[in-house]
Amino acid sequence: MRSRVLVVDDDPALAEMLTIVLRGDGFDTAVVRDGSKAVEAFRETHPDLILLDLMLPGMSGLEICKEIRQESGLPIIMLTARTDTVDVVLGLEAGADDYIVKPFKPKELTARIRARLRRTDVTSAERLRVADIDIDVLGHQVSRDEEQISLTPLEFDLLVALARKPRQVFTREVLLEQVWGYRHAADTRLVNVHVQRLRSKIERDPERPEVVLTVRGVGYKAGTQ
């Protein structure tokens, strides 16, 4: 089954070019050029992934991102021309899973999209436990004391990666490779922001994390049982 990508971009030439490239790589595409219609289009087309330009007329990419995150955890990749810390971090904090900086190469784009659509390998009915969090890998369920916690697929992958090797300390680079699929150095802010997002959902007190622990100067590791 072909994955469907919703392209939200106000630039007609770029939107068309994206469509050509994605179709050529075997994706179905839908395009929406007006930011205010993006959420509507998302509800109608049920895409597997959204490519979202941050600067849009009508409604800013950040707001669209936040609104869609209210309803769904589907992968969102930001298209941004700005690499400033604030811009990127704001986008990630709004709920984007990854970002790609213009100008980019077609291969780079499709690689990013495939990495986000590729899911964590599930070998068997695997169950993991980190601190007081239960993870049902097959069922994509995370719970504490029988209470369901809703995570986006990316946050789920991040938690599973840490939980599968509870004693290992993961550097940000390793997490970027395992969770985001980056083969070489990328922006470690991706990891920082998503760890913060993950913590805000699964920690009792995000200021004093027990599930995802920071190892100063190295990276992160899963909390002990």
Binding site: A81, T85, K102, P103, R183
Partner: protein, 617 residues
């Protein structure tokens, strides 16, 4: 009657009322230089403090005034006292000579009677009861000891009565000449030396002349003068201290608002732009407060103008970035699509797409560099520093230049420490610096190897990237960081750098509080040294690696303490053999991989010395 000549009193002279000024204590020779230095600093503070200065000046001036005043006062009192004494004594001796003359009448008839007559006269002088005319003891001039001397030049011995030995010869000479005279002397009574006034007068009977002296002991006057002097001393000291205290209070009143202004200015400088001083108190201080507040207002307005300007610049940069990048993305993707299918195109079109893609790469790089440098110009560069192993950053940078190194057939030799080099940096920026240095070195290496050396000490890390290529002419080391500067404009470019790389690298290094320096000689290659503080916010004092390889080490840099430089194995890393890249499946050239490589080469040193160089010491 002759006016007596008064000799200047010896011991009675008013002593200057000078307070013991306690100067800085003589430093104990056993004290260390440090203590002396601290004393010196303290002294400097004391001298430079307005408050202390005012107090010291007041104290000094009041002591001086007190001293002069005291000396004058005591001199005046002494003179008056002595004059009165002298006047009374002269009056008394005038009266005494009359009564003595009466008693001595007839003594010359019988020389054997002279001593008896003298004693009789003396007794009468000394006994106030017989002196009914008030010329005896207890008169104005006070207690005296009379002396009568009969010179009798006809006899062998002169006859005296009373303590004649206390009468000085000079005085006797003047009395013998018929004058009435006086002199201050020092006499000994009961073994105590006492000041005394001797007044003498000739006593003439019908046939003979005698000398009459009255010795007045001045111990009473001495006591009075001592009392006056002590009173002046104590009073003066107390007054001076009191004045100093008053000066301290007054100075404090003046200095306090100055200190308040200073504190307010410090807070203003620290960024509290809304800091203002209360306009109150005396006119001058209120004026100071108003001036300060005016200045603060002006600074705040200026800063907000600059902030606004920076904000506009930032917005413009961002807008240009977006506006340029969106069409560029479309062009880029279109070009890449064409490029991907260039085999199906006729040769001239295929070559065109290749050229287009290559130049798009350059265009992108140039755009990115321009935006980065404009961000620095606007003062909008942000540092997101975290602690990271520098070796992994170097590994990443080497990985990114692997392709151009392969094309240029340049080897990259790394000398990295075995243990992690943890340093607080913005890895994106440092990797960019290293990438630029490496690309620059490869570009100018002319096929010779490029070396990357790392050393660290407790406070700083240094990375030196050196090549053995064309080198730098004198003066060029300072120019290489200029924008769009090229050593030789006619030289063919290989890597097609934007000409902004080193300028941006310099800004990146500065943003970290680090140094980026170049060194080189014509034909001997160039050396670029990046020195970074291990912790952000610390000041660099030296570099663990020398900039000029001919110098042993940076004189200020504690290179000799580096635990790495001596034990670092030098590994030769043929670029083609670097086990990195997406194909390897291992991802980036990680710190552990480098360490493993490093130790591998180290252990292989004995087996194949040709592959391993020892570091030149």
């Amino acid at each position: 009657m002759n006016r007596p000549s008064v000799a200047v009193p010896g011991r009675l002279s008013a002593e200057p009322v000078i307070e013991p000024v306690t100067g800085p204590a003589e430093p104990d020779p056993s004290r260390s230089a440090l203590a002396r230095q601290r004393l010196g600093l303290l002294g400097q503070f004391l001298v430079r403090s307005l408050w202390v200065r005012v107090i010291l000046a007041t104290l000094l001036l009041s002591v001086m005034v007190m001293g002069v005043l005291g000396i004058a006062l005591q001199g005046q009192i002494t003179a008056r006292l002595m004059q009165n004494k002298l006047d009374a004594a002269i009056a008394e001796v005038g009266a005494a000579r009359g009564s003595a003359a009466d008693n001595l009448v007839g003594a010359e008839v019988d020389p054997s009677q002279v001593p008896r007559k003298l004693n009789l006269a003396l007794e009468q002088l000394a006994d106030p009861a017989r002196a009914g005319d008030g010329s005896g003891q207890g008169s104005n001039a006070g207690v005296f000891e009379p002396v009568l001397i009969s010179p009798r030049p006809l006899l062998a011995d002169e006859v005296t009565a009373g303590p004649a030995k206390d009468v000085p010869a000079a005085l006797r000479a003047r009395i013998a000449a018929g004058q009435l005279a006086s002199q201050y002397v020092t006499v000994v009574r009961d073994g105590v030396r006492l000041p005394a006034l001797v007044v003498g007068a000739p006593v003439s009977t019908r046939n003979d002349t005698y000398e009459l002296y009255l010795i007045y002991l001045l111990s009473g006057e001495q006591r009075t003068l001592d009392l006056v002097r002590n009173t002046l001393l104590v009073g003066g000291t107390l007054l001076a201290l009191l004045l100093a205290l008053i000066a301290a209070l007054v100075a404090h009143q003046v200095v306090r608002p100055v200190r308040r202004a200073s504190a307010a200015a410090s807070r203003l400088a620290a960024g509290a732009l809304d800091e203002r001083m209360a306009v109150k108190g005396p006119v001058e201080l209120a004026q100071l407060s108003r001036s300060f507040n005016g200045m603060a207002q002006a600074i705040k307005a200026q800063i907000s103008r600059l902030e606004e300007f920076g904000q506009l610049q930032r917005q413009f940069t961002s807008d240009v970035s977006h506006e340029l990048r969106t069409p560029l993305t479309t062009v880029r993707m279109a070009a890449d699509l064409l490029h991907a299918d260039r085999d199906e195109l006729p040769p001239h079109l295929a070559r065109s797409t290749e050229l287009m893609v290559d130049e798009l790469d350059r265009f992108e790089d140039l755009l990115a560099d321009l935006l980065e440098i404009s961000r620095y110009d606007a003062g909008m560069a942000e540092l997101s520093a975290e602690v990271i192993d520098l070796r992994s950053v170097i590994g990443n940078a080497i990985y990114t230049v692997t392709s151009i190194a392969t094309v240029a057939k340049v080897q990259i030799i790394t000398m990295l420490p075995d243990e992690p080099v943890r340093v607080q940096i913005d890895s994106r920026r440092i990797e960019r610096i290293l990438r630029n240095l490496l690309a620059n070195a490869i570009d100018h290496a002319e096929g010779h190897p490029v070396e990357v050396e790392v050393a660290a000490d407790d406070t700083a890390v240094a990375v030196v990237v050196s090549d053995s290529g064309v080198g730098l002419k004198p003066g060029e080391a300072g120019l290489v960081f200029n924008r769009f500067w090229r050593a030789d404009p006619s030289r063919q470019r290989q890597t097609g750098g934007t000409g902004l790389g080193l300028s941006i690298s310099l800004e990146d290094a500065r943003l970290h509080g680090g140094w980026l320096q170049a060194h080189g000689r014509p034909g001997e290659g160039a050396r670029f040294r990046l020195t970074l503080p291990r912790k952000q916010g610390t000041l660099l004092l030296g570099s663990p690696l020398p900039l000029d390889p001919d110098e042993a080490a940076d004189p200020v840099g504690p290179a000799s303490t580096s635990q790495f430089t001596h034990s670092v194995p030098v590994m030769q890393l043929p670029v083609s053999a670097v086990p990195v890249g997406p194909q390897s499946g291992d991802g980036l050239l990680s710190a552990t991989a480098l360490a493993a490589l490093s130790s591998g080469f180290h252990s292989g040193a004995a087996a194949d010395p040709g592959d391993v160089r020892t570091e030149p010491s």
